[in-house]
């Protein structure tokens, strides 16, 4: 037996109210995730202070940071386009964001290959480095998957002024992952 119900749709709530609730939920999630990165970052400082490896590929680290930060720009454009119902702009900006995300991941792979030779996980710096970058890269990966799903689900043009929360939510998450890198990059590459 099943009774069709409206209560998933919260018809008591107006769409504007629902949007505010969704936003609050996302911000709470981001606050929670920040604690995860705080835990890992503090572990790095606890174990090593500001000591870091001499063998870091600084240009590569700088480059992938640049790629990731640029992707946020396109993510912002994707969100704005969706909000104004510009389907073409939304698709192009989302695809560009995904491409830059993938480029970042390629950079991480290169970075890891070099790192494994100089500071494997069995060293203290290697432990901190691979764990922090790995956790962050996993977040980037989930962001890419979410963006790809947006692109797929939005192929019928469903995202527009009336329905932009899925886009907004994923893009905000993407920005958060970028901001997390803004803390992780100096923690691993710059402090001394």
């Amino acid at each position: 037996m099943a009774a069709t119900t409206e209560h998933l749709r919260h018809e008591a709530e107006s769409p504007a109210e629902r949007l505010r609730t969704n936003r609050l939920g996302l911000w709470l999630f981001i606050a929670s995730e920040s604690f995860l990165f705080a835990a890992l970052i503090s572990a790095r400082y606890y174990l090593l202070g500001t000591e870091r490896s001499e063998h870091l590929n600084q240009p590569l680290g700088f480059l992938i940071s640049l790629v990731l930060l640029t992707s946020s720009l396109f993510a912002y454009r994707a969100e704005t386009a969706a909000r104004f119902g510009d389907q073409r702009g939304f698709r192009r900006a989302t695809a560009t964001t995904i491409a830059l995300g993938l480029l970042f991941m390629v950079g991480v792979v290169l970075e890891w290959r070099e790192g494994l030779a100089f500071f494997p996980p069995s060293t203290l710096y290697g432990s901190a480095f691979f764990t922090l970058v790995g956790f962050h890269a996993f977040h980037v990966f989930t962001g890419i998957v979410a963006l790809a799903l947006l692109l797929w689900a939005g192929r019928d043009g469903r995202f527009g002024p009336e329905n932009h929360w899925p886009v907004e939510g994923v893009i905000k998450y993407w920005h958060f992952v970028d901001v997390a890198w803004v803390f992780i990059f100096p923690t691993l590459y710059l402090v001394k």
Binding site: A31, F35, Y46
Partner: protein
């Protein structure tokens, strides 16, 4: 059937994960096996379970642009499905954790049976595993039974909402729990783990294979608890009925809000610390291995940064239920309502800066001892506010000594003992002697069992007619309260003394002179265990055959009592309008909700 599909999904997920890792291992020329395939297998099994049990049908389809199934099932089958009604999910949580509580209770009986005599009956290894499993299962009960069960069921009703803010996320939080239980209960068959619920390295990095499942289980449980906390906060902040200002919320709702803030944020540290253990085991990192430059103390810092606040995830909602029941059954407005709220928030604020009081004897830098002692003892100020509110409420009240009230009064007594003995453990000088003794064991059982679990019982009896639509047997309920109260004192009071005399925790043999305390405690423990049979019999039988309960058998003032028992799907026929304080007892003309409900006579079991 949903659960069958879930199990199928889990099997597919596990096979997939295992094969994936095995393929990578083969490709890299490494031997296939070890913990890595099991870890990835378990994670994907959990994902497969969720998708099969209903995540795909009700939610994930949407992510792919497909129409999700928006039906809410009715009938008894809904309790075994991925469904979004917070009342169904509340009952799912409650029943699940009552079962877990029973299992963990049986393990406690095994522990006390081993400690009946100084000699070893069970063997050290088996004992350590029993003790560890008892510990973590009970911690899970303490974290989730009140918040996930009563919090889920009651909070939307008490604030006049139709459901939680994120109903599908709510279902997801619950359906993450069965994999946790499955993993923890599988662990003993793959080598078990013997590091207690705290899982300190270096032991947890080198011990049996069950530790790996423990880590995966607790990370999943952590996710469930983070998402549950997120949902509760959003619900309380966003879904309140018109007129329900923050300062008109029933005090239980405040306690859920406070506890949820802690689980939302701090749980990440438990997850992180355990994942680092896993990486040390599986990926060859050296976070906690002193030989590689790592530090076991780092684990303790990360772990207690969550696990001290976690005791407030447990006890705050317990305080909330207690104050709630005290106000209704004293027929007085809650004394110093604002003070109690300030107490809750003060506890949340302090909870994150006291963790190292667990580490006075661990070898951390000595200069940290005094600050952490002082900060810890500051907590008695907000806790004192909560106590003040409780005592002021019953002061010259017309106490109605029904079952929930008996339990609530017991909480006050137990937590007073738990709180005062905590001072000796927060104090560096006395802690040096008492650390890792049965004094600690008795102390935290007084706070968590004596505080929260007694409050859980108060809450279960208090909301029983609302949840089940029937009335339990009052006589048996009172018997439960009195029996449990007395037996509980007899179990744990002697253990304080045994601890002072130097009885270590987590041992299965002890010296002859300590036998008196232990035998006494064990016999009392069996009596304590037996009372739950009475309680279970009463609650289960009454659910099926008890007299039908009316909407408001306690003649209580808060919103959940203004709707039918059990409430309809959307909780209220009309959105309620809140016009005043939650406990307007004895104040002529005052009311919490409009239209004012004129209570009829009390329930049939009077």
């Amino acid at each position: 059937m949903a659960i069958l599909k879930g199990v199928l999904g889990a099997a597919v997920g596990y096979a997939l994960g295992f094969a994936l890792v095995a393929a990578v291992q083969l490709a890299m020329g490494n031997p296939v096996g070890g913990a890595a395939p099991v870890v990835i297998g378990s994670v994907l099994a959990t994902a497969g379970w969720l998708l099969g049990v209903g995540l795909w049908r009700a939610w994930a389809r949407e992510w792919f642009g497909l129409e999700p199934d928006r039906e809410t099932p009715t009938g008894p089958g809904r309790y075994f499905r991925f469904t979004t009604d917070h009342k169904v999910i509340g009952i799912q949580y409650l029943v699940t954790f009552v079962i877990v509580f029973g299992l963990a209770g049986l393990l406690a009986m095994v522990v006390r049976w081993e400690l009946l005599t100084p000699a070893a009956d069970l063997g050290g290894d088996a004992y350590n595993q029993v003790m560890s499993l008892h510990g973590i299962l009970m911690v899970a009960v303490a974290v989730a039974a009140v918040l996930g069960g009563l919090g889920n069921y009651c909070v939307p009703l008490m604030i006049g909402a139709r459901d939680m803010a994120f109903p599908r996320l709510n279902a997801l939080s619950y359906w993450l729990v069965p994999p946790v239980a499955a993993l923890l209960l599988t662990a003993p068959f793959v080598g078990g783990w013997d590091s207690g619920w705290t899982a300190y390295p270096p032991l947890s990095v080198v011990n049996g294979g069950g530790q790996v499942l423990f880590v995966v289980a607790i990370v999943i449980f952590g996710l469930s608890s983070i998402l549950g906390g997120l949902n509760a906060i959003a619900t309380i902040l966003r879904m309140r009925a018109p007129g329900m200002t923050l300062m008109r919320m029933p005090i239980f709702v405040w306690s859920v809000l406070a506890a949820s803030i802690i689980s939302l944020l701090f749980t990440q540290f438990f997850a992180a610390s355990l994942i680092l253990v896993l990486l040390d085991r599986v990926a060859g990192t050296t976070f906690f291995e002193a030989a590689g430059g790592g530090s076991p103390l780092l684990y303790q810092h990360l772990f207690w940064f969550y696990s001290h606040p976690a005791v407030y995830v447990m006890i705050l909602p317990g305080f909330g239920i207690t104050l709630e029941v005290l106000a209704h059954f004293s027929r007085k407005p809650l004394f110093a309502y604002k003070g109690a709220v300030a107490g809750f928030l003060g506890i949340v604020g302090l909870s994150g800066i006291v963790w190292a009081h667990h580490m006075f004897t661990s070898g951390m830098a000595h200069f940290m001892n005094i600050p952490f002692m002082a900060l810890t003892e500051l907590i008695s100020i907000p806790t004192g506010l909560v106590f003040l509110s409780a005592l002021g409420t019953i002061w010259r009240g017309r106490l109605w000594l029904r079952t929930p009230m008996l339990f609530a009064l017991a909480v006050l007594f137990n937590f007073a003992i738990g709180g005062v003995t905590g001072i000796y453990l927060a104090d560096v000088a006395t802690d040096l002697h008492l650390q890792d003794t049965y004094f600690v064991v008795a102390h935290f059982h007084y706070t968590i069992v004596g505080g929260e679990i007694f409050a859980l019982m108060a809450g279960i009896y208090y909301w029983y007619p609302k949840i089940t639509g029937r009335m339990y047997r009052e006589g048996l309920g009172r018997l439960h309260a009195v029996w449990m109260f007395l037996a509980f004192q007899l179990v744990f009071l002697p253990l304080f003394v045994a601890g002072i005399h130097g009885m270590n925790r987590r041992i299965n043999e002890y010296v002859e002179p300590l036998q008196g305390y232990n035998t006494f405690s064990s016999v009392a423990a069996f009596a304590l265990g037996a009372v739950f049979l009475v309680a279970l019999g009463n609650l289960a039988w009454s659910w099926a055959r008890g007299p039908v309960a009316e909407a408001n058998p306690w003649r209580a003032s808060t919103l959940e009592w203004t709707t039918s028992s059990p409430p309809p799907l959307h909780n209220f026929e009309r959105t309620p309008e809140v016009v005043g304080d939650p406990y307007p007892y004895g104040e002529p003309g005052a009311a919490h909700v409009r239209p004012v409900v004129v209570p009829t006579i009390a329930g049939g079991s009077e």
